[in-house]
Symmetry: C2
Subunit: 149 residues, 2 copies
């Protein structure tokens, strides 16, 4: 599939926010009408060499996004691990394998950065996403806890 | 409880590794006899302003550790989130509420850094840990996936 994954730039922020908001859980959490907080967050991500906010393009159009964080830790003999967050595929581009390609490219990047594992969490209600990650070889070995502040 | 949480220094690495290794899952993954990879990882954590490797002290003795990462992202209107990893309490200091105090202090730090939520994953087999996190207000809303590279 002819998808390219590239680092997001400030001009991608509106497209990314639109994808975050066009989602059953995201729709109640995001506010695409007010971009300033997203732009401020983008500046912090962009300044952090361990954070990679990526967009997928197909035929010159943004069709997906995810964030890949490289985390250094002492566990597992000091191996870095990768964390994938905020995976979205544009609604009108779903079902074409873009999500799989997005994850495949992110895993490849994690491997290039020397990570020993890639981790992510998925809301318990997203059963379609669970089948998707299991097909890609991820194992549901953990319980994911959140505490809202 | 008279526990203080402070940033780890390079001299804490052997103590932290000993705690990581003294664990039912960690014992098969860690190698305290070979500290060099841990020291290299510590240098990277220490150089990253978003990563906080912490140790808990009681009566001048190291009794616990955890790693707190502050992650910037676009989701949730650009709110930072905190990720807790590698929580350990020294075996001979367990059962005294040190773990709860460690998490409480980490959550307080996450709040101070403006995080909207704190997240962590716990291996499905650690049922005692699950009860512990639920008592502290964490909700098991997610499935945690890992892909070993």
């Amino acid at each position: 599939m002819d998808i390219t994954l590239r680092p997001a730039t400030a001009t991608d922020v509106p497209d990314i926010v639109a994808m975050l908001a066009d989602d059953i859980l995201g729709s109640g959490r995001e506010n695409p009408a007010e971009l300033a907080p997203y732009e401020a967050a983008f500046a912090r991500i962009d300044a952090d060499p361990s954070q990679h906010l990526l967009v997928a393009e197909r035929d010159g159009r943004t069709v997906g996004t995810l964030q890949l964080a490289i985390l250094y830790g002492l566990s597992r003999q000091g191996s870095p691990r990768a964390l994938i967050e905020a995976v979205r595929v544009r609604a009108d581009a779903r079902g074409a394998g873009i999500g799989s390609e997005l994850i495949r490219l992110a895993v490849e990047e994690a491997r290039r950065q020397g990570c020993a594992l890639v981790q992510l969490t998925s809301d318990r209600t997203r059963t379609g996403a669970h089948r998707f990650y299991e097909r890609l070889g991820f194992r549901p070995t953990h319980v994911g806890y959140k505490l809202t502040l």
